[in-house]
Each structure stands twice: as C-alpha cells, then as structure tokens.
Amino acid sequence: MSSETSTKTPEAAAVPPSGPAPVNKRVPRGHKRLLTRRDRITLAFMAGVPTVLHVALVWVTALASIALAFTTWDGIGLGSIKWVGLDNFHQLFTDNPQFWPAVQHNIIWFVVLILVPTPFGLFLAVQLDKKIRFSRVYQTAFFLPVVVSLAVTGFVWQLVYNPDTGLINSLIGANKPGHYIDWIGDPHLNLWAVLIAASWRHAGYMMILYLAGLKGVDPSLREASSLDGANEWQTFKNVIFPTLRPTNTVVLVVTIIEALRAFDLVFVFNKGAQGTELLSILITNNIIGESSRIGYGSAIAVVLLVISLAVIIPYLIATFRKERRA
C-alpha cells in the first residue's frame, strides 16, 4: 500500500494540469445506506465547520463590500448607514486624482511582470533543466527572494535604493548631495524601482513553476526532435513550449492575481504616495488612514473584485471542467 502512494509525489497531484484521476469518481449509490446516523452528523460537521468559517469571513464580507459600496457610513453605529446609489462610483471615476493612476499602475504592474521576469524565469528553468552540475545551488539563489517576505524584501531594497547610502547610487557615484537620484522619492522613478524589486521575486517563482512543468515533458519528444535534426531553439519553440500550455495558463493567472494583490512592497517603500498608487493601497488607506470612508473604500474594493472575478471565473470553469472529465 505504502509503496503505491509514496510513488505519487505531490507534483503528481499538481493541479490543475493533474493527470487523470484513477478509477472511481463517486461512491456507488448503495454505500450511502451504510452510513449510520452518527456518520452523517460527523460528515456534516466535517464539511460544515470549515465551510461556515470560510464563507462567513471571505464570501459574506465580499458581498458586504458590494452592498457597502452603495452607501455612506462613518462606521459609528449601524444606524448611520445611508444608501447613496452610485454616488461613490461616480465620485471615484470622475473626482479622485488617485484612482485612474492606481488602475494604470496595476496594469503596468501586470504587463511588466508578464513581459520581463516571467520569460526570464522560463529561460532560467530551461537552462536549469539541462541536468547541469550545481543546479540546486543556482535554483536556491534565484529562489531565495520568494521565501523572504515581501515586507522584508521592501526593507532590503530600500537599502539598495537609499539615495546617499544605497548600493546603486554608491556604485554609480550619485550619492553626493545635490546629485542624488531619489529612486523612491521621485514619482517618475519609484514605480519602476518597486517593479524591479517585484520582478526580482517574481522571476524565481516563475522559474519553479516552469521547472515543475518541464519535468512533466516526455523525454522521448526531445529525442525525436533532435533525431529530426532540430536545434535547441527549434526544439524548444516547436516541441517543448507547446507542451507547457497548462503551466502557461497557471503562470498567466498567478501573474494577474499577483498584480492585483500587489501591496506589501509599496506599503513598505512609501505607502503608495505619489507615483506608486495601487488599488489595494487606496482601499487600505481608507481603513488605516485618518478618514474612514467605508462606502467609498468599498467601491474601490468592488472595482478590484470585478476585475479579479473576470480572471478567476473563466480559469476555474476551465480547471473544473477538466477535472470532471478526468
């Protein structure tokens, strides 16, 4: 028994490109009758407790966000909640100097992550997949940023970007008073500075996902391709890359969600001040900032929710359809 299961490494269970689940999908109807009353109660608890907790704290609050987005509320007493229809959204779209820059920055965040660290992570994965010496050491080097928290990453990169004591300015000689390049303070530079730190982390993450994907590529494909006289690039482009499709889907979804979630780095850097506004930061500032405009903050959350669901729903439908077929 144990031998059978131990050969199934967790990778084999990897979702969503999981292999076909063997045999049985459902317990034959008759077995339901074997369940005693106590068993049914146990089962109801086993499924019920986690579901109630998850639904109450995640989904009920998400729905509450939607409801609150159409109200104003000062947070003091439930009686002060007033329905205002689309006012919050109207104000947000037409009269908030931070909103459109935040949307734009979230989009830039995604575009940069998908165009720079993602292909680079794939490139590293392909190189490290060649069964070379010290592969583990290299992997660890690229992977360490993923292990360290984003908040700590923020502190570390602040040391790198510091105008007078930072690594970059010290190296390029811009650390003399009057010649500072203020990487974090300059609104034309700071978004890019943060994105470099974000990419630093993202590349390692993508590398691991692609390495896992590459492990699943049938070696005979590679052999066949080289027998046909294809060079390395042709093999990759025509044979390997197409088989990585499931991984690519995951990578795309992960990257979009990372771009929508982006928060910690910017918060540590400059709390989303000029030049680094993000939707997540605007929402948070509504809560922990001075003014607590709950309805207004919720309206921003709804924008974020709608964008997220536009990605999550199609992805889950595709994933679960595949599962059902399996």
Partner: protein, 296 residues
C-alpha cells in the same frame, strides 16, 4: 529528480564550451540575484559610524554582530517572534485540519455539492485580500469577546488573525488535498465502510496518514506564508505590542532604528526563521508551491 538524474548522471557529458558559458552566465546572474541580500548582510555587519565615514562601498575595517545584537535587544524582537508563534502555529494546524476534513468529504462522498463547494473554496482563496478587508475590519470591531482576547474584541487580537488565516488559506488547501485524496484507491475506504468503521475513523486512521506527503508540503508552505503575512496584521492589529514580527518591523524601523545598518540587521533577523524552514524543508516547500500552482 531522483530516478532521472541517477540514470543520466552516469553519462554526464564532458564539459563543452557551451556548458562553460552557461555556468558563467548562471554564476553571474546568481550573484546579481543575491546582491541585494548580500548588501544587507554587509551593511548589517558594519557599524554605522564606519560606513558614514568611509561610504558604503568600501573595505570594512571590522565586521561585528553588534547591529544584530542591538536590533534584537532594542526592539524586543523576541516578543514579536513570540507573537508570530502564537498566531502561526495554531493557524497552520487548524488550516490543515479543517481543509483536510472538507477535502475528505468532497473526495470520498459525492453529495453533488462537492464541485460547487470546491469552487467556493478555491475562488475565495484567489480573491485579493483587499476586496474583503473593509467589512472584515468592521466585523472584527463589532464582535465583542470580553475576557477572551486582550482587546475585548476580535479586532487587535491573535485570535482574529488566526481565524482569517484559517478561513482564507483553507480555500487553497482544501482544493489541493481533495485532488490528492481523489488519487487514493477507493477500495481502502470502501472496505473500511463495509467493515463498519465510522466515517471519522476512515478519515483519521486511513485517509489522513496516506496524505502525509501533501500535508507536509502544505504545512511548510503555510508556515512560510503565514509567518510572512503583512497585510492582515497591518490592518487588523492596532497595538504595536500585539503585532507579529513582519508588521512590527515596519513600526520598529521608524521608531527605534535610527541607522540603515540597524534596519538591515532587523530585516535579516526577521527573515531568518523562513530561511531556516526553507533550507530544512526545501523539498516540501518546492513541491508545495507546485501543488499550489493555482495559488496567487
């Protein structure tokens, strides 16, 4: 890794120029990748007075662990590590317990509900946290727990953080574990059922032990994620005293730390536990991440 590498290891090709070039490239990029962290290490090892005199890019006169010691003592880091521990340990264990129960239900008993249930869990975990934070924050302020938490509310308490971690992370774990459990042969539980074993026994004594590899991978991943959490703690904890280490560092760097070298030491100290977990449980961590390929 194992079987393939062993088979191929024997016929390792002699070093070709292309290989050498590749190694040069990889060594170079690895070093560039580690540079920010190494920079922090070097800064942390030097006293502020020295770097402010000689500049940061200079040969160090003496290296010492003083900054680490000062950061640790000045800011009472032990206390914050303790805070993290009382949040992370229960959160990881409860998440694993609850999500494996849902996964067991969904993968072993088809009550037609299971795809829907899994969708609810999985989708919930993919949402950005900020989507739910405003009502959650209000809810936490509304719930009175006199005598149970220090603050008398769910807000500003370790319990509150544990609950949201469990609720949020169980979405992802339930999905992964249900996939894993579905691959276990059904005969196992069927036989037990026919023999009259209770459902709980089936779960606790048959299915759960077989899920050890997946649980280990998820446990490692969860420990690192929950340890690294910054957002929930920043919003849901208001008293600096109660903060876990990552968000406390944010407060500390403004309040106590007056020089960048000390901040570097503080940041590195904060990262040490995750690095230890990673180096010890590397295999579990990586397999956990690929299990969680759908995770944001």
């Amino acid at each position: 890794m194992s079987t393939n590498a062993a088979a191929l290891g024997k016929q390792r090709t002699p070093l070709r120029p292309a290989r050498v070039l590749l190694h040069v490239f990889l060594v170079g990029t690895s070093l560039a990748w580690l540079a920010p962290l190494l920079w922090a290490v070097i800064a942390a090892l030097r006293p502020y007075s020295e770097t402010s005199n000689k500049g940061y890019v200079s040969w160090p006169d003496k290296l010492s662990l003083d900054n680490f010691k000062n950061a640790f003592e000045q800011s009472d880091m032990m206390h914050y590590f303790g805070n993290t521990l009382i949040i992370a340990v229960p959160a990881v264990l409860i998440t694993l317990l609850l999500s494996s129960m849902v996964a067991f239900y969904v993968s072993r008993f088809d009550f037609r509900l299971n795809i829907f249930l899994l969708l609810v869990f999985t989708a919930g975990n993919l949402l950005p946290q900020q989507v739910i934070i405003t009502p959650l924050y209000r809810l936490y302020l509304l719930i009175d727990l006199p005598g149970i938490t220090m603050s008398g509310k769910l807000y500003d308490s370790a319990l509150g953080l544990v609950l949201i971690h469990v609720a949020f992370q169980s979405g992802f774990c339930a999905f992964v574990l249900s996939n894993y459990m579905r691959m276990l042969p059904h005969e196992l539980t069927e036989a037990a059922l026919v023999d009259g074993a209770s459902v709980w026994r089936m779960y606790w004594q048959i299915v759960l032990p077989l899920c050890k590899p997946a649980m280990a991978a998820l446990g490692t991943l969860l420990s690192i994620w929950i340890y690294n959490d910054f957002f929930w703690a920043i919003v849901l904890i208001s008293t600096g005293e109660n903060m876990p280490i990552t968000s406390a560092l944010n407060n500390l760097s403004g309040q106590y730390f007056t020089d960048p070298n000390l901040v570097a030491a503080g940041a590195l100290l904060t990262a040490i536990p995750t690095l230890i977990v990673y180096f010890v449980l590397q295999r579990q961590f990586v397999s956990g991440l690929t299990l969680g390929a759908n995770k944001g």
